[in-house]
Symmetry: C2
Subunit: 337 residues, 2 copies
């Protein structure tokens, strides 16, 4: 590992997990520490809590489909929801650069309030810091969140109940967020408007859990992309993941941009996409339920848990080949979230 | 209000509360929102939770007595403890500038772990973002925290049980943190080493609560200083606060620096000091208990709740005058925490 922090340490891929292992997990170790999941699962009297935190440093702060504030609220809601929890309370902490326009701050706060209200969560506490011009880039937001967890959903964040034959589900096209941010930065034009997928997914996820779908694992696909989640999930396990490339929903525009920039759709960041591992018996019903929501209307099964490639994630390519899926190494696009 | 964010918006004083009122409280309003207190008090099944968040942007990141990591852990612990809660779980989110030395990051993480362990809290979840060189100043840390609250302590953060005659207690000298940071920035030398007071206060506070001291209100004295807390506490109330200047513990070094820089000890930031409002009957015993702890060895009564100045906080000066204590307006020292 280099002796300075590089952008790759923030990629959400291999360098990030190496840094977390060697530094944060090393010093902070305790049985409740959740190193790689989205939320820590904690005791609170007779209740079980999910607790999560994320800082948002996205550039640009306003983009088609959202802004840094909406992103922060959605990200925290989704981290709680994919742990099987019902998101309830959110904190919002702002680091603002001196000279930042007040009307933009109001626009961001308004959009946070609207997103929270839409998702049924309360912003309950906050913090405001201001740093001198040039000491941060416009505005950074941290949101932390608390959700409540039914006992029957406690296994979801660890994936400990995953079995051979379970199906791998996606709720729609991969990469909308990353392509949107890239396009905004590079001033790329599309024929049809291309928006970030940023959205709260808690309502769709609650519908799955309430319908007694056998959800074995969920994770929201942000930095590091689908590939990094699959690689982390199968590492040192007796099972593997096999994904079919032809089933993976990738928009034509996304394919085009990926070819142009040398990006791989498997590693693209999303802000309204989850991967779910669901029992073969209930996977079809899960797709039906997801399709009832705007956030899940393009939901598909993309592969399954297999014993053919234990400890590995592989993709069966359209041309009939087999490709090992590894964590993101290096960096695709910095400051994506 | 100006149409851009200024450093004074981050002072913790009047401009900060105006910004919070007009922007965050305006949009985020809900009954659980805690606008000016240290923690929101929330329902969690049969339990009551305290939930708090703070971002730390201090400059310099290493200073006599601590560093940004220790500061973050102590700040969050203290925000929970002064709400009458027992701090349990902490999240840690890092925004790091590209090129930041890894050994400094490890030193910060180690010190966070040590402080958490000393205070009996667990760091359970985290986040790591890296931004390009020049897009943040070295490292910013957000810590959010969850504590549990006994029913009998629910009134503490609101101060709703404050009565005429209650005593105002301080656990030691004001200003150690701000003077230490100022000295570090300006390369000031003292005869005796001068350290920040940064420390977790939860053990001392728990001893007060366990001893059935009638604690009516507590707040940790950070940005904005003692003055801002007193002014906020008495605003629109039927009671006032009267503080005796001669009882206020101010070190000689602090007095000297304040004269030199035109600072007022009442507005100095601290990171290991609380103001507590305690019934006249139990205030003496509270001082005895506080003095048993290194964090409370210089504890004193500095004044009382009075009906003579309703809605106001005043200081009886050493020269016999009477001075109205108002919120900090403008900025003493940016990036103090």
């Amino acid at each position: 590992m280099p002796n300075i922090i590089t952008l790759s340490h923030g990629s959400g891929g291999k360098m990030t997990s190496d840094l977390i292992r060697s530094t944060f997990a090393h010093f902070f170790y305790n049985p409740a520490l959740n190193v790689f999941g989205d939320s820590a699962i904690l005791n609170a009297g007779s209740s079980r809590l999910a607790f999560t935190t994320d800082s948002y440093v996205i550039d640009p702060i306003f983009f088609p489909g959202g802004n840094i504030g909406k992103l922060a609220i959605c990200g925290t809601i989704n981290d709680l929801a994919v742990a099987g929890a019902i998101p309830h309370y959110i904190s919002a902490a702002f680091i603002i650069e001196e000279g930042f326009p007040l009307d933009q701050l109001k626009q961001i706060a308004k959009s946070m309030a609207e997103t929270a209200s839409q998702a049924g969560v309360l912003i309950v506490t906050g913090d405001t810091k201001v740093v001198k011009h040039g000491q941060c880039d416009k505005i950074f937001i941290n949101t932390s969140g608390i959700g409540f967890l039914a006992n029957k959903n406690e296994h979801i964040s660890s994936g400990m109940k995953i079995c051979i034959g379970d199906q791998i589900l996606l709720n729609g096209f991969v990469g909308d967020h990353e392509i949107c941010i890239l396009a905004a930065r590079e001033n790329l034009q599309f024929e049809k408007p291309f928006e970030s997928d940023v959205a709260p997914l808690n309502t769709m996820i609650k519908a799955l859990l309430d319908a007694d779908i056998e959800v074995k694992f969920m994770r929201d696909i942000t930095r590091g992309g689908l590939a990094t989640i699959c690689a982390e999930l199968t590492e040192n396990k007796a099972f593997g993941i096999a994904i079919e490339e032809q089933l993976l929903p990738v928009r034509e525009e996304t394919k085009g941009i990926c070819e142009l920039y040398g990006f791989d759709p498997l590693y693209l960041a999303n802000e309204g996409k989850i991967v779910a591992v669901i029992s073969r018996e209930t996977a079809g019903k899960a797709i039906e339920i997801m399709k009832k929501f705007s956030t899940g209307k393009d939901a598909v099964i993309i592969g399954e848990i297999t014993d053919t490639y234990p400890g590995k994630s592989v993709m069966k390519t359209i041309t009939g080949g087999l490709r090992i899926i590894d964590r993101l190494s290096g960096m695709q696009l910095p400051r994506i979230c």
